[in-house]
């Protein structure tokens, strides 16, 4: 309950509409979403304060803290009630327990201000909310829809409405957490039948199979007791797909079409003892490259950078939370991946972020949205803003990424977040020691995000938003930034690193962080010592909470005082919550009693290994569609340029601070005309010219046909990206991130096996090792039969098998980098390609090295990867970037009249590059055919012809306009 007596409400709004950018933005969004009758939205920021406050204090805070005297006005009054308003008013408050970072900072600032002015202020608490006056709406149900679609997300926010005949009670302003019993509960497994176990697994959100629950039952039978709820939940987290990748690590028998160019005609049977180890990790093992410093064992893979440093790279997905709350889901996805880098070795310093999003058409018909699914435009905008706000606040440049549209991502958008870090080579090894203290640093623990790891194993349905609302979180980037600042100071302390091991608190919270660190030693943890956001948490909630911005350290007792001092100086809480024991048991205590005692051997090795059958029937697949005859090449080029999958990504990257840290060498925009770059190049050390190139390959459109070639071409594209900007082809490492619709079905698993096998084959041929990877294997959405019929959608919307390959290439000197924009008029334009589907990766491996050699020799002045949209789009993009023209002839292609097909062919691995007029590209090919296409011109026209026929003759500004026209974000 809330006591209105002690509440002060401070309302702040812009003095003129021109400074109400929030209101104006929402109005534009409302119009785009079809609320054309709305003529205005006025936004008011609300601060609700509780504590030692009188009018003088509230007015002082309003004037000196909350309102900007130049552009805002404020009002404050005691108690909170609806304002007098002619227009209907909507208030949006966060649901109890949802992170409110502004409130945390505001409370601190308010207390400090009042204390320095001797106006009290002790114990002041703050909550924030938004109030919107909506002008022009006359029907209540329209207002309710607008509030739900545009103004708030009911999965994290409470909507209250006053007007048009409705007058809600305003939400409790300072909700108190309900007190819960902390009596130890046991869960009985013995005697339960298969059906009962299945139900238990589902109801408790364990997502364990019957077989797995039986293994737990047998283990506890030997101990002659039932597991506690905490123990069972710990096992479920530790054994979740998210944490152990049990599908990728299962034993698989594959039956179906063979692999690679030679495998097409014959079926094979292949046995994998551990799919991941026998394909992806095997490639890295076989290559055995000395510059791979740490692969597949830490939070991130680490490769050699220079004499003293390594570079770490990790990519994660955060798909399910982003489907429900795109902003918070994506922000915490970025935050989690950054923590992986912070927790890699003894801590790497993040130097760059990457992001790849797969979403449905932003203009997908609203009336055909399944229940519980957010509009794709809203999803995309939310995830872009989430990644933006987290990365920008952390001061990590978001430098590279991709955006891919397909309507099968309607209910399961994919959000990949990556982070690159730099680490001293003597900080790679870590190991907690017996007797080390377990220190929890960072944000406080609340009821947030409980069950995230198991949630990712669930198939989404229309009730997922309600059922898993607790798994949705809002991040607090500044807390993580403080942790980063403190951590690097503790790592590089004058007296040596102040801790012996570190890991991040991610999925599974403490259960998984401490469990992982203690996997050999065992540990004892006192949950009473974990700092809480609010009272009333049950012991298992403390243990499993996925509250963000926390890390766990192992600290030798003698260094503890120094370590705590470093964190306190950076305003970060650091608490000793237990110690590593060495007895091989993970003991969890609360209020003097033991609430869990798990044998770490069973916890980490007791998961029964699955044996699976995978099949693949090539005959049921469609063969790739060959380009039909193209009537009007120029019209097709303009259409392709403005298509969702080719058009400019500027609306996204402009919002990311891609320059912070000062290391940016090749940026998302290339040239004076700001065309697209193939990859980003970042210089991690300000006093060095060495850099890393970061690229990405993703081509889910090829999955339906054959995931084998999809994977090969994704790897090929990721390699081309970094080669284009000047990476050393012998120093490219890659990461795999699988997002699959599901794997219970033998064919779906067969598709996964084909992609994994391709990863092995291509990585070995290209000599690019995998250094890290992650998977998300449940990305399909179930509709009821009725809904499916009504909406004209399948009962199961399954994403296409999507494999993101991220690449990290070494650039010895960033001054030698090349970008895609055309430069000097008169330069000659060349094309080189390989047909990977017919010739296998071996047909392209030498080409990548040839192009890299040409770039390294300094003879290439521009280079661009031919990808979505084919050669025509590639040339157009190079013209746009350079604000130059080009005159191109297709006569060099042996295919003659079909040359125009080459223009839009996306199936080949190909590059376009330019050289100064006196350089003969063919002499650079080392025996490989390099086709001369034409010449760069000063007049801004792209002319493409074959024989005497002109196919394209268009002004570059027109290409530019087509490429920038498409609005997929606002």
């Amino acid at each position: 309950m809330w006591d209105s007596e002690s509440i002060w409400e401070i309302a702040v709004e812009a003095t003129s509409a021109s400074h109400d950018a929030r209101g104006a933005g929402l109005l534009a969004t409302a119009h785009r979403a079809g609320f054309s009758e709305v003529t205005g939205i006025r936004a008011t920021r609300l601060y609700l304060l509780r504590g030692q406050l009188d009018r003088a204090a509230a007015e002082r805070l309003s004037a000196d803290l909350f309102a900007d005297p130049v552009i805002e006005q404020w009002s404050c009054h005691q108690g909170a009630d609806w304002p007098e308003s002619a227009e209907p008013v909507v208030e949006v408050h966060l649901l109890p327990g949802v992170m409110d970072p502004v409130a945390i900072s505001a409370a601190g600032a308010a207390r400090e201000l009042l204390q320095s002015a001797a106006l009290g202020g002790t114990g002041v608490q703050v909550r924030t909310a938004w109030r919107y006056a909506v002008i022009g709406l006359t029907e209540l149900d329209r207002l309710e829809t607008l509030a739900r679609r545009i103004l708030a997300n009911p999965s994290i926010e409470k909507i209250s409405i006053c007007g048009l005949g409705r007058r809600d009670e305003l939400p409790q302003r300072f909700p108190e957490a309900p007190q819960v019993s902390n009596q130890v509960r046991h869960v009985r497994l013995t005697g339960l039948g298969d059906e009962e176990l299945t139900r238990l697994s589902r109801e408790k959100h364990l997502f364990l199979s019957v077989e797995e629950l039986r293994a737990v039952e047998r283990h506890f039978a030997t101990l002659e007791r039932d597991p506690t709820d905490l123990e069972l939940e710990t096992i479920a987290q530790t054994w979740s797909e998210h944490c152990v990748h049990k599908t990728l690590k299962s034993a698989v028998v594959y039956r179906g079409q063979g692999f690679g160019v030679d495998g097409i005609d014959a079926d094979v049977e292949r046995h994998y003892d551990n799919l991941l180890a026998d394909t992806i990790a095997k490639a890295t093992r076989e290559l055995a490259l000395p510059w791979c410093l740490s692969v597949f064992k830490d939070n991130a893979g680490i490769v050699d950078f220079d004499e003293r440093h390594g570079v770490a790279f990790k990519v994660e997905t955060h798909n399910h939370p982003s489907a429900i709350e795109p902003y918070g889901g994506a922000a915490t996805g970025a935050g989690g991946c950054i923590r992986d880098i912070l927790g890699c070795g003894l801590g790497a310093k993040p130097i760059a972020n990457t992001d790849v999003f797969c979403v449905a058409d932003p203009d997908f018909d609203d009336d055909r949205l399944p229940p519980g699914v957010l509009r794709p435009r809203r999803i995309l905008r939310g995830i872009v803003e989430g990644v933006r706000d987290y990365g920008n606040r952390m001061g990590i440049p978001t430098v590279a990424g991709a955006l891919y549209f397909d309507d099968r991502y309607l209910a399961n958008p994919l959000v990949y977040c990556g982070c690159v870090g730099v680490i001293s080579k003597d900080r790679i090894h870590k190991e907690p020691r017996r007797g080390d203290k377990i220190v929890l640093v960072g944000g406080r623990t609340g009821r947030d995000g409980i069950g995230g790891a198991t949630f990712s194993s669930a198939e989404l349905t229309d009730t997922h938003a309600d059922e898993f609302a607790h798994a949705v979180q809002i991040g607090n980037a500044i807390e993580e930034k403080k942790v980063l600042d403190a951590l690097l100071r503790a790592r590089d302390h004058a007296t040596g690193c102040l801790y012996t091991a570190i890991t991040d608190c991610g999925a599974g919270g403490l259960s998984s962080a401490v469990g992982e660190m203690a996997h050999e030693l065992g540990a004892v943890v006192d949950l009473d010592k974990v700092p809480l956001k609010y009272a009333g948490l049950r012991y298992n909630e403390i243990w499993l909470s996925e509250a963000q911005e926390r890390m766990v350290l192992a600290v030798v007792p003698e260094r503890l005082a120094e370590l705590v001092a470093v964190f306190v100086a950076e305003e970060v809480e650091a608490s000793v919550i237990g110690e590593f024991t060495g007895d091989g048991v993970l003991r969890v205590r609360y209020a003097g009693g033991e609430v869990g005692s798990l044998d770490v051997g069973f916890l980490h090795k007791g998961l029964p290994k699955r044996r699976r059958i995978a099949t693949w029937n090539a005959l049921r697949r469609s063969s790739p569609t060959v380009n039909e005859r193209i009537a009007d090449v120029q019209a097709m080029l303009l259409e392709r340029l403005s298509s969702l999958n080719c058009c400019s990504r500027e609306a996204v990257f402009r919002q990311y601070d891609h320059e912070v840290q000062g290391g940016s060498a090749v940026k998302p925009a290339a040239g004076v005309g700001e065309g697209p770059s193939d990859a980003a190049v970042v210089r991690p050390l300000l006093d060095s010219r060495r850099g890393v190139a970061i690229g990405a390959g993703v081509c889910p459109n090829l999955s339906d046909d054959d995931p084998y070639w999809m994977a090969v071409l994704a790897i090929d594209e990721a390699i081309r990206n970094v080669i284009c900007v000047g990476a050393n082809p012998d120093r490219i490492a890659i990461l795999d991130n699988f997002c699959w619709p599901g794997c219970e079905d033998e064919e779906q698993l067969g598709a996964l096996v084909r992609a994994c096998q391709a990863c092995h084959d291509a990585a070995v041929t290209y000599r690019v090792p995998f250094i890290s990877g992650k998977d998300s294997l449940n990305n399909q959405f179930s509709l009821s039969a009725d809904d499916a019929r009504r909406l004209g959608l399948p009962e199961t919307i399954a994403i296409p098998g999507t494999l993101l390959i991220s690449s990290l290439g070494l650039v010895e000197d960033v001054r030698r980098c090349v970008t895609s924009d055309l430069k000097q008029p008169g330069a000659r334009v060349w094309y080189v390609s390989a047909d990977v589907r017919r010739g296998g990766p071996e047909s392209a491996a030498a080409m990548h090295r040839t192009v890299a050699r040409i770039i390294r020799s300094g003879q290439a002045t521009a280079c661009h990867d031919v990808s979505d949209g084919g050669l025509a789009v590639c040339l157009a993009e190079m013209c746009i970037g350079g604000a130059r023209g080009a005159t191109v002839s297709l006569d060099g292609f042996a295919t003659g009249a079909d040359a125009r097909l080459r223009l839009f062919d996306e199936s080949r691995s190909a590059y376009v590059f330019t050289t100064p007029p006196d350089v003969d590209g063919n002499a650079l090919g080392g025996g490989r055919e390099i086709v001369e296409l034409g010449v760069v011109t000063r007049d801004k026209r792209l002319c493409i012809g074959v024989g005497a026929k002109t196919l394209v003759d268009v002004e570059v500004p027109r290409l530019d306009a087509a490429w920038r026209r498409t609005n997929y974000l606002d």
Partner: protein
């Protein structure tokens, strides 16, 4: 004082401290970073320095409004000392978030005696990261050269300069203005700033607040068209740091 000493103020959420420190060192200054809480504990530390720098970032998350909380801490607890610092011929440089802090702490105004100004949310309502062409029209500011064009990146959500009273606004305080130039896409004034203002100085010319980031262009490799250019002269950002160091020579 041959080599000036620079105090660089850190705070929770400040994130351009490392590269700004690097820029000062490249320019020939000695630069110490200090957490704002340490400075507030021992304000006299400030007197040991010739230059104070407030680097970019999101101090305290930019919660409530950009720079507001850090500005309040400084203004309420050592405002007079900061004004004395400037009076004693020392220099103050506020970059991006640092500029927002200087404005919101009242250390930079739009005219005399005290015309209030602010840095509001950009006209497009969101964060923008973009290289911009700038020009300096004033002789007053020791960090800048009148008539010179500067090419530097901006990266902020709240950089739209606004004044409370346009009639009291003193145009000669506008130290840097957005201007037409490279890159060719997008508007010259990318945030809708009043009078195209990208940077502001005070009457002494010894305080500079600017939204663009000079520390992000101190090496030719940082230039966005570096791959097209054969030769990049002195990076524009480095020139700003060097000009400040020159004051102490």
């Amino acid at each position: 004082m041959a080599q000036p000493r620079v105090l660089l103020l850190r705070a929770p959420g400040i994130n351009c401290d490392v590269e700004t420190q690097h820029a000062w060192r490249l320019a020939g200054a000695e630069c110490d970073a200090m957490h704002v809480s340490r400075l507030l504990e021992q304000p006299a530390t400030l007197d040991r320095y010739g230059i104070l720098t407030l680097p970019g970032g999101f101090s305290y998350g930019d919660d409530i409004s950009a720079g507001r909380i850090l500005a309040n801490r400084l203004a309420h607890r050592m405002g007079e000392q900061l004004r004395d610092f400037v009076r004693c011929d020392r220099l103050v440089l506020g970059i991006c978030n640092g500029f927002q802090v200087l404005v919101k702490a009242g250390l930079l105004t739009a005219g005399s005696p005290h015309t209030r100004c602010t840095l509001a949310l950009n006209a497009q309502g969101r964060f923008v990261c973009q290289w911009t062409s700038l020009r300096c029209d004033t002789q007053r500011c020791v960090f800048l050269e009148r008539g010179r064009r500067y090419f530097l990146p901006i990266a902020h959500a709240e950089g739209r300069f606004a004044v409370a009273n346009a009639e009291a606004y003193d145009r000669s305080l506008a130290a840097l203005r957005y201007t037409r130039g490279e890159p060719r896409t997008g508007p010259a004034n990318p945030t809708g700033s009043f009078d195209d203002v990208a940077g502001l100085t005070d009457e002494t010319g010894r305080v500079l607040g600017l939204m663009p980031h000079p520390e992000r262009f101190v090496d030719p490799s940082q230039h966005p068209f570096a791959t097209a250019a054969d030769d990049i002269p002195e990076p524009d950002g480095l020139a700003i740091f060097r000009a400040a160091v020159e004051v102490f020579r």
